[in-house]
Amino acid sequence: MVDPISAAGSSSTPVVSFEGVEKRYGKLAALDRVDLEVPAGAVMGLIGPNGAGKTTSMLLMSSLLSRDAGSVRILGNDPEKDPRSVRKVIGYMPDFFGFYDTLNVSEYLDFFAATHGIKPHARPGVVADLLALVDLEGKADADVNTLSRGMKQRLSLARALVHDPQLLILDEPASGLDPRARVQLRELIAELARLGKTVVISSHILAELEGICTHMAVVDHGKVKAHGTLEEIRTTLVANKRVTVRVPDSQVDATEDALSGQPEVTEMAVERGVVRFLLNGDDAVSARLLGQIVGGGIEISEWRVDSAGLEELFLQITEERRE
């Protein structure tokens, strides 16, 4: 098991803090001693397969679910003991829409503004601003049923923002969206991050998160397998890098001999003029190996080190436990 690493750059009080959080549904441990911190201004991606505990974590943050053990703090408040304070500072967008058929777009937002205690005279301005933010100004009077899925998703996001929360909790927001709608949503989340919102976002679509998130937590079987900035996870947790070495055909055997004795080198494969292997080490190890081979008189035409992508990291981290 990989120990969680702390998030970088979290000098101030974290917006979300989980300490040893446990949640069980009967015999199933939905969350098992989870430690997690989301620093202010971060866009934290919660990644994990189905049933990993992502939604349970979000329900705990949203004050909808009680925990069995541990501590949860949202901007210093306990969602169980002081849910109303927490609800003032969070905007929750679940993985479903939840619309009223008979209300149009602006009435829908107006209603949720009212439920958050925004005064009647202030609500039209709030609704107009939100519609502009999510690019639905032209749909203010439209029936929600006539909106596309992407528009509905943006309307849901506007609903979550109606009381100007500091923390946004978005459960699978990109689910079911077409590529164009995903790009729009990604831009919108980036804009919210620029506005200073802290965002916690879950998804299966890893490539989507890679472009948005500043931090990531990989959740699997109720445990946080990795937690930190993307670079921290890459460098600290997953040292294996795929290295491709291109040499003259006549020097392939010599290259293989030079590398085979190195403890950091595994899974070596040799083709005509190309040697591929996994390097278990950082850039310094890579440089040392390169120096040794060049020093042995081998003429290298290419030395390429590929870091693992988010998808690969995710598979590596979640596979590790299954093994």
């Binding site: 004050s63 009680s66 929750y92 679940p94 209300l103 949720f112 009212a114 439920t115 958050h116 609903r159």
Partner: protein, 336 residues
């Protein structure tokens, strides 16, 4: 006063559905037809009893129409309110909006009260729409404005308790079908099955206690929950209403109400009020007036208590954080 947001939204929703105007039209038409039939029936009974003396009979007709209309309104509440309130919470759950409301600044109690008020305000509108028909007996005489207010107070009290029970059952229910069935069961329990409970109570407790009514009799507790008896109790005064043998809609109910309150019919068919301290009747037996308040007051107190309990329980059910996530019942809409 700031309008409960849930109430405001529900009012919009109720009147925007396609069937809303049709339902409203059907309601007014049905009530008008019923009141007209009641008028014809009252006219027939009056003619049978008073012959050509129709002027003398108008007071009786007014009373007859008022009594039957009051009972009709109670029946209407029993049938309409569960339909209005039963889907209130389970409907939010099925369209997946309940959790969205739970993370707002609305308290569970505000949410439940909004739901209840929206159902009752709709009923109030239905009552206002048929008010001219309901008030028609005033033109004939035989009743006072106070009688009308008393009957409406019981009707509204009954609507509140049925609404509160329906909202509570809606909060408990896993499906809309279960919520509707439960709400109608609760409503019928108070309105109809209460008579069966009364019968059972009489047979179980009365024989060995010196008779159920009057001297030495025990209280018939099951009468406390029945709205029909409460209406009779609220608009009749046992010492002023003559029992002259002419059948009226209240007649069968009056027997229970009067006797429960320690009043009995004289052999001549007149109501005998029993003064404090009792009276001596023919066989020398002392008939003592029970120290019992009017039935309708007890009914309203019981309804009030049930309503408060139901509202608080419903609020507790939807309170979060919960131990388990809200189980989202599959609805046609959700699975579509």
């Amino acid at each position: 006063m700031i309008l409960n947001p849930v109430l405001g939204r529900e009012i919009k929703e109720r009147f925007r559905t396609r069937r809303a105007p049709w339902f409203f039209f059907a309601w007014v038409l049905a009530m008008a037809c019923f009141v007209y039939l009641i008028y014809l029936l009252a006219q027939f009974v009056a003619r049978e009893q008073f012959g050509l003396g129709r002027l003398v009979a108008t007071g009786f007709m007014g009373r007859f129409m008022f009594e039957l209309t009051s009972l009709l309104l109670v029946t209407a509440v029993m049938l309409v309110v569960p339909g209005l309130a039963a889907l209130s919470v389970v409907g939010e759950r099925e369209r997946q909006t309940l959790s969205l409301l739970q993370v707002t600044q609305l308290s569970p109690l505000q949410l439940i009260l909004g739901k209840l008020m929206s159902s009752l305000s709709y009923l109030l509108l239905l009552l206002v729409a048929v008010a001219p028909a309901v008030a028609l007996p005033l033109l004939f005489g035989g009743i006072t404005f106070g009688d009308l207010v008393g009957a409406l107070a019981i009707v509204i009290g009954f609507a509140v308790v049925v609404g509160a029970l329906s909202v509570w059952l809606s909060a408990r229910a896993r499906s809309s079908r279960g919520a509707v069935a439960g709400a109608y069961l609760g409503s019928l329990l108070l309105g109809v099955f209460a008579f069966a409970i009364m019968t059972a109570e009489i047979f179980l407790f009365a024989p060995d206690r010196g008779g159920l009514f009057g001297n030495g009799g025990r209280e018939l507790y099951s009468t406390w929950i029945n709205p029909y008896l409460a209406v009779v109790s609220a608009v009749d005064h046992p010492l002023t209403i003559r029992q002259d043998g002419i059948p009226r809609p209240f007649s069968p109910l009056e027997t229970i109400v009067y006797r429960r309150e320690g009043v009995r019919l004289s052999p001549q068919g007149w109501v005998e009020g029993i003064p404090p301290g009792g009276v001596t009747i023919q066989d020398g037996q002392q008939l003592v007036k029970e120290k019992r308040g009017p039935l309708w007051i007890r009914t309203l107190i019981v309804y009030g208590a049930i309503s408060v309990l139901a509202i608080l329980r419903a609020a507790r059910i939807i309170r979060v954080p919960a131990k388990r996530p809200i189980s989202l019942v599959r609805s046609r809409r959700a699975t579509a």
